[in-house]
């Protein structure tokens, strides 16, 4: 995962003196960015749809794994396209693509939010400790992140997925089984170093600040300074980068599912749907277009929202 160093610029003390709270100021700045605002609305709608997926499936009359092979597959087992009752057509098993796209949003959002949340937390905690404490601990954590970043992501994912698939118990004493949790584990393993580096770099800068010196002078402990003085000043870059990590995590889940290493086929996911679509792209365009468009729109929306958040946090922003 790449690191956008420019966002470090936003690790500055907030602007002063407008009479509004920083959150209100940020929201005002964010709303001015129309693309970000519309993207946020899209993501809210998508989230609501994902939560209400069972209700939508009920209204559509088709569950995500209900098979309509006599009505929606031809005699060769090829899927039929969009109809009045199957808005997005059927997949190669005769399942409703519309319902599965909505259910697929669940996987994408869960992976995006949960994996990013865990990775960001690990990255922030390790980054703070490494940057503030320095010394051997910093060296250990920094070299560990270097090693992780040097690992071949897909080979690692393939190996882990294979190793955990041979028995019902999975691996690591049953802690890791193939499917959603394995995808999250893989993403977390490879996502935390980027956040770690950003936080560590910002902490290295902040620990020399006068307010940190002042804290030491009044007898605050190192832990208090870290979490009560330094951490609040890191919120801006952390939130901005976390917002950028979410689409990367969603995309990575799609990669893994596309390679057959993600969630099982019976759990709808956009990556898994695109994988199946690759077998039928010349004859069943709808299999690729609908999950592809939703994946594209979601990634784009998260990126635009992240841009909006970055601009909103930036006191020098003019728009």
């Amino acid at each position: 995962m790449s690191v956008d160093v420019s966002i470090l610029e936003s690790a500055q003390p907030p602007a002063l003196g407008t009479g509004r709270s920083p959150a209100a100021l940020m929201w005002l700045r964010f709303r001015v960015n129309r693309a970000a605002y519309v993207s946020l609305i899209f993501l809210v709608v998508l989230t609501v749809a994902a939560i209400a997926a069972p209700l939508i499936a009920h209204l559509a009359g088709h569950g995500p794994n209900d098979l309509y092979r006599t009505s929606m597959l031809d005699s060769f087992g090829n899927p039929k396209g969009p109809t009045l009752h199957f808005w997005f057509g059927a997949d190669a098993s005769g399942r409703d693509v519309f319902v599965r796209v909505i259910y697929g949003a669940r996987v994408s959002l869960i992976v995006g939010v949960v994996a990013t949340g865990i990775a960001a937390t690990i990255g922030v905690v390790f980054g703070l400790i490494a940057g503030f404490r320095g010394g051997g601990l910093d060296t250990l954590l920094s070299r560990t992140s270097d090693v992780v970043l040097a690992l071949p992501v897909l080979l690692f994912a393939i190996g882990l997925s294979s190793a955990c698939s041979n028995t019902a118990q999975g691996c690591v004493g049953g802690a890791v089984t193939p499917g959603l949790n394995l995808v999250i584990v893989i993403i977390v393993i490879f996502a935390w170093p980027a956040m770690f580096r950003i936080v560590r770099a910002a902490t290295l800068s902040l620990r020399e600040s006068t307010f940190v010196e002042a804290g030491r002078a009044v007898g605050m402990t190192g832990r208090s300074i870290m979490f009560r003085e330094v951490l609040p000043n890191l919120i801006s870059p952390v939130v901005v980068y976390a917002a950028l990590m979410i689409p990367e995590s969603i995309l990575f889940e799609a990669y893994l599912s596309f390679l057959g290493l993600g969630v099982p086929g019976t759990t709808p996911s956009w990556g898994g749907m695109l994988e199946q679509a690759s077998q039928y792209y010349t004859t069943a365009w709808w299999l690729m277009v609908f999950p592809g468009v939703f994946l594209l729109a979601t990634i784009l929306a998260f990126n635009l929202v992240a841009d909006g958040v970055r601009d909103a946090f930036d006191p020098k922003a003019t728009k």
Binding site: S165, G260, Q279
Partner: protein, 628 residues
């Protein structure tokens, strides 16, 4: 040799050859779907080059016949490169599974209670260049020495374990195989340590073809001889004449074969058609090219454009549907019925499948029509209702139509399945559903290729109707096979399993798949563990549920195997087939696959080789002006 297990022979993605019998797409199904016809298409004329493309050769032993165990290689060997003592006509249907003499002058009659088999080799059969000399009985005997040499890793050497003295040779205790004698250059006698009525079939396998010692002795590692295979058939590898075989150090690979890109065959100048039969080999094209093209879509685009003629890959259903829907291209589709069965395997030592009522309920609820559709519809396979494909029975009349678990439309019956489940110990509520915890999240291995992936929701939906839910791991084919065939993994249920015959005797199904002696810690083909004893289970780390006795069919297999080939033997196997389906129920079989071939417009004659389950290369022809 004491090999007791084997890997499954790798087959083409799907299998076989009826003829061109396609009208409209619907008519395709009506005309082709229900039979295993044998009509060859066209008669053809001499000349041209038959061009075949594949995404990968997939050879298991680098094309060295001693160990090569893949369908595609066998089809090429039999039709073009290797003549065995006995062979096949290489045509479609039941006649294509019947043995005929090839190198031998006649099919011998065994003596000594099926333990002594004597063959006379035809005169005038010569090896291709660079060897050029007459083929002798010693060349056939030498092939068996290679099979019995452990370092060469013969992958189906177990078929020859009844030859007297082969174990002593394999272990180095003897320098010859005492059970193979060659009284003169034209006579070879096999002495077996026990009656082996189907021994002739075993001699039809390509590893048993003649091999010149002066060349093959130079290759002491598995697969080495594949690059310098000396032909005994109508074609040879291009560049054969230029190979210097005067010393081992002088031998270089034949230029016509590169495992990563091409196999080019040209006419063998030493081939004498008078020693062969046109019923077996018409040998019309001047040559064959087998070329790697990693873009599968491109292969079939090229076939439709007439730029190539055939493929080792099966065309995807979407492409077949496209072609079948095009009146001007329908004639390009050829299909036939393979000798392979696709099935769901249930582990008799794992709950809830240790209960025969659950296994029968699985058969009764299974949506076989849905699975057929997931595989591409009736054109891609017939519904299977028992273990061995009908084409492997010379007279299948007593098993044709046999379906102990028939349901309306072959779509499964909830009422029949629940009535069966009602008798199970896993239905404590007696509601016709598998209520026990063992029925929930049953660990299941599936295969993640496109057609096999399509089967998963069908199976999951069907089993859900009787209360069985699945915890599915969809793995690549090789991983899935390795996982299921490792007994200690204790896989209760395996989807998309398939087995193809090695030769047309049902013993090649029953022995490896259901005999207790074939159960092995890894590479185990008896996935259902039929015949597993408590002692063996303990050795393998398998815990048989309390109070469960796993049925055995060892005695029945031995009884059938002891009967000489003929109608009595067939009847015995058919009775065993039915017994396994009704009293053991290790599988839910659902498909006998068709082998679909999309052929280029230059192909003027084509047939299906039932013995190898490939294109009958010995009977194809192309427009004479096509030079590849």
């Amino acid at each position: 040799m004491s090999v007791v297990t084997r890997p499954p022979r790798r087959a083409r993605a799907s299998v076989i050859g009826l003829a061109i019998c396609l009208g409209a797409a619907a008519a395709v199904l009506a005309a082709c779907g229900g039979s295993s016809g044998s009509a060859a298409s066209g008669s053809g004329s001499r000349g041209g080059t038959y061009r075949v493309e594949a995404t990968d050769f997939g050879f298991s032993n680098n094309f060295d016949p001693t160990g090569e165990y893949t369908t595609n290689a066998w089809g090429i060997y039999r039709g073009l490169l290797i003549r065995t003592l006995v062979g096949y006509k290489m045509i479609a249907g039941v006649p294509g599974n019947q043995l005929v003499p090839d190198l031998a002058t006649a099919l011998p009659t065994p003596t000594g209670n099926n333990t002594v088999w004597t063959f006379t080799i035809k005169t005038g059969v010569r090896f291709a260049p660079p060897v050029n000399r007459v083929i002798t009985s010693q060349d056939v005997a030498y092939a068996f020495q290679r099979i019995a040499t452990p370092a060469l890793a013969a992958q189906y050497g177990f078929y020859y374990s009844t030859i007297a003295g082969i174990d002593a040779f394999a272990s180095g205790k003897s320098k010859t195989i005492s059970g193979i004698t060659t009284p003169n250059t034209r006579t070879i006698v096999f002495h077996l340590s026990q009656p082996t009525p189907d021994f002739l079939y075993r001699l039809s396998l390509p590893a048993a073809g003649p091999i010149p010692r002066e060349v093959a002795k130079c290759f002491t590692a598995p697969g080495g001889y594949g690059r310098d295979l000396v032909s005994s058939g109508p074609y040879m590898i291009q560049g054969s004449p230029t190979v210097n075989v005067s010393a081992c150090g002088a031998i270089t690979p034949m230029s016509g074969f590169d495992p990563s890109s091409k196999l080019v065959l040209v006419r063998n100048p030493n081939y004498n058609p008078a020693t062969d039969s046109t019923a077996m080999r018409t040998a019309l094209p001047n040559g064959f090219t087998f070329t790697i093209n990693t873009n599968q879509r491109d292969i079939f685009d090229r076939i439709q454009a007439g730029l190539t003629d055939d493929s080792l890959n099966a065309p995807p259903a979407s492409i077949v549907a496209q072609v079948a829907g095009n009146a001007s291209q329908r004639h390009l589709i050829h299909s036939g019925l393979s000798d392979s069965t696709k099935y769901i395997s249930m582990n008799l030592a794992q709950a809830p499948f240790d209960d025969i009522h659950v296994r029968k309920a699985v058969n009764l609820i299974m949506d076989k029509a849905g699975l057929q559709q997931a595989n591409g519809g009736p054109l891609f396979g017939e519904l299977a209702t028992h273990i061995v494909p009908n084409t492997m029975y010379n007279d299948a009349s007593s098993i044709t139509g046999y379906d102990p678990y028939a349901t309306p439309g072959s779509s499964g019956s909830v009422s029949a399945a629940q009535a069966e489940m009602h008798q199970s110990k896993y239905d404590p509520k007696h509601d016709g559903l598998c209520d026990a915890s063992a029925c929930k999240d049953v660990f299941t291995i599936a295969v993640n290729t496109s057609q096999d992936t399509n089967e998963i929701p069908v199976v999951q939906s069907a089993l859900g109707r009787i209360g069985i839910t699945l915890n599915i791991r969809a793995l690549p084919p090789s991983s899935a096979g390795a996982t299921v065939s490792t007994v200690a993994n204790n896989v209760p249920l395996a989807l998309s399993q398939g087995f193809s015959k090695d030769y047309a005797d049902p013993s090649t199904f029953f022995t490896p798949l259901f005999e207790s002696s074939s159960i092995a810690p890894t590479g185990n083909l008896n996935e259902s563990l039929v015949g597993l004893t408590p002692a063996l289970a303990h050795q393998l780390g398998v815990k048989i549920p309390a109070g469960v006795t796993i049925p055995s069919v060892d005695a029945k297999i031995a009884a059938c195997d002891a009967i000489p080939t003929g109608s009595d033997r067939q009847s015995c196997w058919i009775a065993l087939d039915k017994y396994v389906m009704e009293s053991v129920v290790p599988w839910a079989p659902y498909l006998t696959q068709h082998d679909i071939h999309l052929l280029g417009s230059d192909v003027t004659a084509w047939d299906y080789d039932q013995s190898s389950n490939t294109t009958a290369y010995s009977h194809v022809a192309v427009a004479a002006n096509k030079q590849g």
